[in-house]
Symmetry: C2
Subunit: 236 residues, 2 copies
């Protein structure tokens, strides 16, 4: 079984009313733009997937986000038109350019092709991801992995696809760079999840056998360690 991806056309994703003339195809493992590039606008993923990452001065990469159909790319460019991140396609993808002028146009009512409320909604969704992702800073490896799996699965369900069995478009190294751990650690955690009967894996294909238990791990509600909820008084 190969891990070629279906490039499924997603029909139930709001296309923000951008006319299709701005849509284009980009092949796998291509750069969309790099850190420091001046952007023409933001992009929306119609099909395929990309990874957004940032390279530190010391040359280490951190993957910030994987974008699936419906997701927006280049939001950090909203500050001044320059990107602080690099985007590479994971597979052949179809993207739509949403020019800054469509966004910044003071009188949106004139631009019928831009769905402004949905744009704002998407921004909120992105901030929510960032919050969830930030929570990982204090989480150990198994929770990070569990969170990734749940997050990925929930994303598929939202798009009307199978949520308990899927083929991920990224390699282990990418997932590890996303979760902030070594590839070896990720591999070991995956092996542990297998042994515990939580999932099955073959190459990039993953079948979640016990989603609720994985969700418990992600939420820190593991039954076996039974940590006593020490609610500290953070308000004070």
């Amino acid at each position: 079984m190969s891990h070629l991806h279906s490039n499924t056309q997603i029909n139930n994703i709001n296309n923000m009313g951008i006319k299709d003339s701005n849509a284009f195809v980009i092949r796998e493992h291509q750069f969309l733009f790099k850190m420091g590039d001046q952007l023409e606008g933001i992009y929306r993923v119609n099909s395929g997937s990309v990874k957004i990452f940032k390279t530190s001065e010391s040359g280490n990469d951190q993957i910030i986000r994987f974008c699936m159909p419906g997701d927006l790319i280049g939001l950090d460019g909203l500050a001044d038109g320059f990107s602080r991140s690099t985007v590479v396609t994971l597979e052949t993808s179809n993207l739509t350019l949403i020019p800054f002028k469509s966004i910044l146009n003071q009188d949106q009512s004139r631009d019928k092709n831009f769905d402004y409320p949905n744009f704002i909604h998407q921004l909120g969704v992105n901030f929510n991801h960032d919050i969830e992702y930030s929570m990982m800073l204090s989480q150990c490896a198994d929770r990070r992995l569990a969170w990734f799996l749940i997050n990925y699965s929930d994303g598929l369900k939202k798009r009307g696809q199978r949520a308990n069995e899927f083929t991920v478009p990224m390699k282990r190294t990418d997932i590890a760079l996303y979760l902030g751990m070594a590839v070896e650690t990720l591999s070991r955690e995956l092996a542990t999840f297998c042994k515990r009967g939580l999932l099955k894996k073959y190459l990039r294909n993953i079948e979640l056998l016990d989603i609720e238990e994985i969700r418990n791990i992600a939420n820190g509600n593991e039954p076996q360690q039974q940590q006593e909820q020490k609610q500290q008084d953070i308000a004070a």
Copy 2:
């Protein structure tokens, strides 16, 4: 020397054109809103400071962001009007409510009191913070601390304040929860920075003695360990 804060009125912060009637004062250690609350809009910090945090199901807090004058609060509520995070003031603060209707109004040209381009700019700035913050996932304790110090210092400079000597409004526990480490680890790292002559501290007052060296640490360019920049081929 007390660590009372000046509540400095910031004049060089763009107020987004929101009329002052929406401004209000909120005392220290008060909740602005909690996870799950329905919001009327987003808020802008005029003076003072707040912490934004999220509590996991297992009762652990993660501080997502500290907001200083000019910063926006409640952006995750843009998705559906409900907040996924809790906001508590660190000191007595002055905030301005920016109602969702001012933002979502299709025809911004009618609402002269809302500076839309600046709003978009601020969103980009927030995404940039989130990217920088995400980089911390794979960083060790000393880099996290260095990043925090540089980030805080740069923020002060941007507001026209002293960048090398300041008094932080948050306690050690807050900084530790923000950086995703134990308070003890933070304390030890601070001690190490002192011994290395990088900073002086007294209670919540911090004086940065060698900003460039701290910046080097944050960027992973520590001269003494001289890690060989193994540039891995992430694009492939």
